[in-house]
């Protein structure tokens, strides 16, 4: 689904299977895939790419908003290629993955080297060819969670920080309720026309997004 010129959403809408939404940011020069999702369901992204005449080979950079398997696992399908896209995530997230390496190997057969980031993301501007983004470190759901802001479309790609009508859980390794609330409050001040979450439906329009942030705070903040 093309939300705006060059901004595509591959929404995961199978409620009985956990996987994330993926987003594609495309310019004349570069193509960025955000959160490729679970490896087993990567065909969902592949089909989305085909609909816009792309293949995974056209992706220049994969950014993971955080390193949970439902967002990142499929990255290994891309990094193993002869000419793989680069992979980026926050350093704190990589530290979390490294600390969990034995479990990942034992439970999912996943080797760390399949996911070694080419570079880390920190707070600040990120220029990828002619595509200009701003990276915000938004911990809470995960210690190295990031939110990407694309000023050209006023699009906020938040991962599992906040959803349409909800917020990210904090009971997974490295989760922190206070950090989550702080991160959500920071992002609520952004000038956003698109709220693109890791799960659930896309939210559009500045007013609807502001209302969503307010409702999330009123409804959930006392419980975390």
């Amino acid at each position: 689904m093309e939300l705006a010129s060059g901004l595509h959403a591959f929404i995961w809408d199978t409620p009985n299977v956990n996987n994330c939404n993926s987003y594609l940011l495309r310019s004349a020069e570069k193509t960025i895939l955000v959160d490729p999702g679970h490896a087993a369901y990567f065909d969902h992204v592949r089909r989305g790419l085909e609909r816009i005449d792309l293949t995974p080979e056209n992706i220049d950079l994969v950014i993971c908003t955080h390193a949970h398997p439902d967002h990142m696992e499929a990255a290994r399908l891309l990094t193993g290629r002869a000419s793989p896209p680069l992979l980026a995530l926050h350093a704190a997230e990589w530290a979390l993955v490294q600390s969990m390496a034995p479990y990942l190997k034992a439970t999912m057969g996943v080797a760390l080297e399949d996911f070694e980031p080419d570079f880390f993301l920190d707070e600040g501007p990120l220029q990828v060819g002619d595509l200009a983004l701003i990276v915000h470190h938004t911990p809470g759901h995960s210690p190295g969670g990031v939110t990407l802001y694309w000023p050209e479309h006023k699009a906020l790609i938040v991962g599992d920080l906040v959803f349409n009508g909800g917020l990210g859980r904090t009971d997974l390794p490295g989760g922190d309720g206070n950090q989550l609330k702080q991160s959500i409050r920071r992002m609520s001040e952004m000038d956003a026309e698109w709220l693109l979450s890791g799960h659930g439906q896309v939210l559009s329009g500045a007013a609807a997004i502001k209302t969503n942030f307010q409702q999330v705070e009123q409804t959930w903040f006392n419980y975390i």
Binding site: E29, K30, D60, L61, L86, A91, W94, E116, P117, D118, F119, F120, L121, D122, E123, G124, P125, L126, Q127, V128, G129, L133, I134, V135
Partner: protein, 182 residues
């Protein structure tokens, strides 16, 4: 009919003529001593012992095994030093064992840190250049992952090995001086 023997009988029968030579006994003693010494060092690392109580425990261990080998104890402490880590505790212990070496060791570890930092800065610059020139990726949000840089890893490993060798030599020399002055 053959005699029915218990397991213990069989073991006793088979080991009846076995005995250790003096050298084998000494080697076995030394091995056991070194294992216990590593245990003491771990207790020290875990802050269960301080330099004074470590020395008391070491003295007791030496008496128990009738082994007096200050050189191997100093080297065992030296092996605990991580050139890139925080070595304050090990330097404190060495200050109690071979005080004359501590200042030189501190200088060596500072040099190691400075060289390690220079290598890392160089690798980060190299990575930023590569990302910018080959992939048109730049900006304050970009932090290098130096672990992806084979040249950096090789340089770091060489530096680490060189420093470890120098620590070993330094402690060996200090130990020899200590022994010859007694």
């Amino acid at each position: 009919m053959a005699e029915i023997k218990s397991t213990l009988d069989l073991v006793m029968e088979r080991t009846r003529d076995l005995s250790l030579s003096e050298e084998e006994k000494a080697a076995q003693q030394k091995e056991a001593f070194e294992k216990r010494l590593q245990g003491l060092l771990q207790q020290y690392a875990d802050q269960a012992l301080n330099p004074k109580s470590f020395q008391q425990e070491r003295d007791a261990l030496e008496s128990e095994y009738r082994i007096h080998d200050p050189g191997s104890i100093v080297q065992a402490v030296g092996e605990r030093i991580d050139p890139s880590g925080d070595n304050r505790r090990w330097l404190d212990l060495l200050a109690a064992l071979v005080p004359q070496v501590v200042s030189d060791l501190e200088t060596l570890l500072t040099e190691h840190r400075n060289q390690g930092h220079a290598i890392e800065v160089e690798a980060m610059a190299r990575s930023a250049r590569m990302l910018s020139q080959q992939h048109a990726i730049s900006g304050a949000a970009v932090l290098s992952n130096t672990e992806k840089d084979q040249q950096f890893r090789d340089q770091r490993d060489r530096l680490e090995n060189r420093t470890r060798t120098r620590i070993k030599e330094m402690l060996h020399r200090a130990q020899n001086q200590e022994a010859s002055s007694q």
